[in-house]
Amino acid sequence: MMTPKRKFHFGLGTRHPGHTAVFVAGVVVLALLATATGRAEEPGESIYMKRCASCHGKTGGGVKGEYSKPLVGDKTVPQLTNYVTKSMPDDKPEQCVGKDAEAVSRYIYDAFYSPIAQARHRPPRIELSRLTVTQHRNVVADLIGSFRRNVSLDKRDGLRAEFFKGRSMGRDRLEERIEPSVLAHFDKSNPLYDRFDPKGFSARWSGALVAPETGNYEFILKSDHAVRLWLNQDGRGNRDDNEFSETKDAFIDAWVKSGNQIEYRGTIFLIAGQVYPLAVEFSCHSQGVGDEKEHKSKLPEHSFVELWWRPPHREVEVVPARVLSPTSATEVCVLNTPFPPDDRSVGYERGSSVSKAWADATTGAAIEVADYVVGHMYELSNTRIKDDKRDEKVRAFAATFVERAFRRPLTDFERRLYVDKQFEGADDIKLGLKRVVMLTMESPRFLYHNLGGDEDDAYAQASRLSFALWDSLPDRQLLDAAAKGQLAKPDQVARQAQRMLDDPRCHAKVRQFMHYWLDIEQVPDMAKDKEQFKGFDAAVTSDLRTSLDLFLDDVVWNGSGDFRQLLTSDAMYVNGRLGAYYGVNLPKDAPFEKVAATTPKRVGVLTHPYVLARFAYPDATSPIHRGVFIVRSVLGRALRPPPKAVAPLAPDLHPGMTTRQRVTLQTEPKACQACHGMINALGFTLEQFDAVGRFRDKEFGKPIDARGAYELPTGKVRNFNDAYDLASFLAESEETHDAFVMQLFHHLAKQSMMAYGQDKAEQLRRDFAAHGYNIRDLIVNAAVTIATTAPDRPKAEAKSN
């Protein structure tokens, strides 16, 4: 039996995945279809209207004086059918039995009774949410970081490099300068060479690393002499404030040079947008504790040290200057406990559900954080072993820790339960602290948004703002503003938001959104046919992803921040390797630089080779994938999955046909055209770019036809000659702007945009246009909306059935 719900899926594409309005619209479509066709095989609705609606209401909401309760519940259709058969209508159950009972039950179930139907009807609201995994990790890092020295990021790229005359670093410094990377070779051509001690010299590169993405990073330290890498280790392991000095080896310790090894590796999990201390120490001299005069080492003619890495989803490269800064940073507490992934069913990560796996992970994390805090107790509490006020300071630290974790001042109840009681119950200070931290990390006041506090106040606003921009808790300045009542007006909130934009955590969050927008968050497999696309290897793919990131960052964070640039800019970031592959004349080992790609004109992300190659088959382009990307991501229109999985026609079985011809042939049937009419006509405009994004004007000897079209909301059709035409249209299209605003808002808020009110959504769109489509202004405005909108806290709702 064909259910009404499935019928709905035959309706034309609705807009905007991820908000419940879709479903409301769906019901309307369903109703229209049903009425229009008046199908005899689906009498459920008419039976209901005839026999049930007078008591239960037209939409099952109940009728006063008759049956006032809404028809909602968790019975299945067969259960409902049984009930109807036995008991309904109230006076004459025999009137509705058999197929009729089944049909009306199915209708009731789908239209308003089932949990899904209820969700469909319930107006969107800001839901209680827990921290997402990303937020959990950031919060832990920033919470503990808040007790450490404030780090302000030096905007220069590269590291502080120091060179010392002899074996010991810190003595006889010959020179200090900023170097872009750790890539040093010392021989007679080096101006310092003659100033080194005849027995040897030493050098140090120090600063910070900003992780561009969250994930596992492999570091490769190469040297033929004593060398070590300190990474995310503050104080170089010389901590003496614990009972036992920690056995804190360098992250990679090759100070003992042994045998022929010249390459050392280590893997570390890093969180995007956090700033990690990094130092490479190098000593081209014999080591050991013997008398200096025993050392027979001699300054070699050549020695070297290099620092390479393999970031997540990338190939090995020298750690580039753009992720390095000569900042003196502090250790970051990186949560290593694995978490189950968050719900993304509506298109953005959100903390809308809990599970056993998640509860176990939070407990694992609670223990991990507790271990970390206790392990750094003296440092974080700013005390020492032999300090008369040690215990007092540790308790004070604990109270502040809880306060910051809850993102608001503690009530007496909280202070009593979370701090005092835990210390009282423990026989030593470390155990007490451990329990405070464990309990805090397990507390819903920590784990959920908008839960602490008796009412929605400035602290709640501050939290919403910082989670919107950073996926993390408020910093000191923001908390101060909350405390002083300086978040009362929207423009005060906006000023804070403006300040907070310029933070690596915000940059990381926006980059993650851009990856989502371009559907490259789950890193695609981009392997191509080796014959056809010789040289398109993992290194090129890796460089392309970097190239795209550089472009995205440039548009968003520099200059006018104009969204339209994303779709129309002819700028492309190219290094030597990409230059060779894509025909830009650069030296082979040239670092990334911005070039104007004019032959043919590239148009932003649409023609970026990474995007083009991502939406292509290994051996051919895919106008369908490219079209779907434009329809869904850029224009924000929903598409249903295809009715059946279809393998593309193989090029070699259709010799002489262009890709366009094959796709046209395959999607010719009427059943396909409802969607493919739109998809193909958009995807075809990118046909001038092959499966790796190189320009082509012919395919199989036939000229490329890149014409396309799009049916506007007005019903008129807009024609395009090529990608350039399309991009010019999309950049100015209100649909594109709407889609971008909504998707970005969802990414920032992790709540449905509709919950913030139809008028606020409209307002954001208008503001976006009024601000010249400045993405930074859009982010600020969205964040202010999120911060200043308090979630409803309805009094206990009448719970039905």
């Binding site: 002499h225 991990e368 819903p444």
Partner: protein
């Protein structure tokens, strides 16, 4: 090079990886009953800077021998002790004798050339081979009947915070030195952290229910569902903790005196604490192999509690004519021997869990040193004093070999575990097979 120990690895070792948390918080089952063969265990105890031979080695050979000053604390266990005089570290190559002394002691193979310059000779790097304790551990871990939670534990006492050739004795393989843990709190956490966390977690979850109940009233009915589900998982975790507690650990968790600080003068206390933990780890069958490294080669402990203010290594360079130094060195070695005797006594007092006799009946301790004699830096006549019944060796004897390579002793240890290797370390020194000690 020192392998980077990430916190992720550390967490995994502790078993706190979240997914399996409630189960991993529980102690592994002890499974004594399944063992049909008796357990065999090995402890290698290291103290540095050589000995004063005439105050160390028994003059006699055979079963009737007398203990000298330095080894007199072993008197109660004389019939369980085996002196092996005349065993020599013949490995040569790069590195000074202190470096090779400790680096080749358990590996029986040369150090790699490297950049660590000692007081003489050529610079060197790490050992080019695995050490015998790790070799045997790997063998035991291969077999389900002899596999334990850690396999081996590396204890240290006052080991300096420096990873170099002088501070590492155990090697997991070429260029893979293992750092001994000299912080008893860290070792305690490694062994019992789970249990302590389990206790804390239980108390914390109790408290959490109180606050969850309070917060439930604060949110709308729709949102309440989420909190109720959360509360349900918390209750389930509590039940799991309760269940795991009831499954029980028949092994009591020792208590550790709080507030011991790493300080030269605390060395006796740290030593005793580490030995207690070591014996505990064997009683709980966490490991069957352990090393216990006092300081390092060239160690400079100042045994002020014996009235000796000078550093150990400095004293060891004094010429034979310096009777004061000789006396002090004899007393220093006697102190180390007292630690050995304490360890032996603890093992002898601990019944073999699920078996017969005591831990000492099933444990062999090897007390050794990087040098034969401090002021000559000789690698001949390396102190090898064996105690306990772990390996079916015939104990209660003083044996005098004529300069046999110590590789053959290392092989004898492996053979004692039934691991019949034909060579160990540099094969040049293995020609006549394992020393026969049975």
């Amino acid at each position: 090079m020192g392998k980077p120990q990430t916190r992720r690895q550390f967490m995994q070792e502790l078993g706190l990886s979240a997914a399996a948390l409630p189960f991993l918080l529980n102690m592994p089952s002890l499974g004594f009953a399944q063992t049909t063969q008796r357990k065999k265990r090995l402890i290698v105890m290291f103290s540095p800077n050589g000995v004063i031979p005439e105050n160390f080695w028994p003059g006699e050979e055979g079963e009737n021998y007398n203990l000298k000053d330095s080894t007199s604390p072993l008197e109660p266990f004389k019939n369980r002790t085996l002196f092996l005089n005349g065993v020599c570290d013949k490995v040569r190559g790069d590195g000074d004798n202190h470096m090779r002394g400790i680096g080749c002691l358990l590996t029986g193979i040369e150090l790699f050339p490297g950049n660590i310059q000692g007081g003489s000779h050529t610079p060197a790097g790490w050992s080019s081979g695995i050490s015998i304790d790790q070799e045997i551990k790997n063998q035991l871990q291969k077999n389900a009947a002899t596999r334990t939670r850690f396999g081996s534990l590396e204890f240290g006492v006052m080991v300096p915070e420096r990873a170099d050739t002088w501070t590492r004795m155990s090697y997991a393989g070429p260029n893979q030195p293992l750092a001994p843990i000299d912080d008893p709190y860290q070792m305690f956490d490694k062994m019992y952290g789970r249990v302590k966390d389990q206790e804390s977690l239980k108390s914390v979850l109790d408290e959490l229910q109180e606050d969850l109940a309070k917060l439930r009233t604060r949110v709308s009915a729709d949102d309440r569902r989420l909190l109720e589900e959360h509360a349900q998982w918390v209750r389930e975790m509590e039940r799991e903790l309760q269940a795991s507690k009831q499954r029980g650990n028949d092994h009591a968790v020792p208590t550790l005196e709080p507030g011991i600080v790493e300080d030269n003068d605390n060395m006796p206390k740290i030593s005793q604490t580490q030995i207690d933990l070591l014996v505990n780890s064997f009683a709980a069958d966490f490991a069957r192999i352990a090393t216990l490294q006092f300081t390092r080669s060239v160690g400079q402990a100042k045994m002020r509690w014996l009235g000796i203010d000078e550093g150990h290594h400095g004293l060891s360079h004094e010429p034979d004519s310096n009777n004061d130094a000789k006396d002090k060195l004899t007393r220093i070695n006697k102190w180390y021997c007292e630690q050995l005797a304490y360890l032996t006594k603890k093992l002898a007092e601990t019944p073999e869990p699920g078996g017969e006799g005591t831990l000492l009946d099933n444990t062999l301790i090897v007390w050794t040193n990087e040098l034969g004699k401090g002021n000559s830096h000789t690698l001949d006549n390396i102190p090898f004093v064996l105690v306990g019944g772990g390996l079916d060796f015939k104990m209660g004897r003083s044996l005098k070999f004529k300069g046999v390579a110590h590789n053959r002793l290392l092989m004898a240890l492996a053979h004692g575990f039934g691991h019949r290797i034909n060579t160990f370390g540099n094969p040049d020194y293995c020609a006549d097979g394992p020393l026969s000690l049975t």
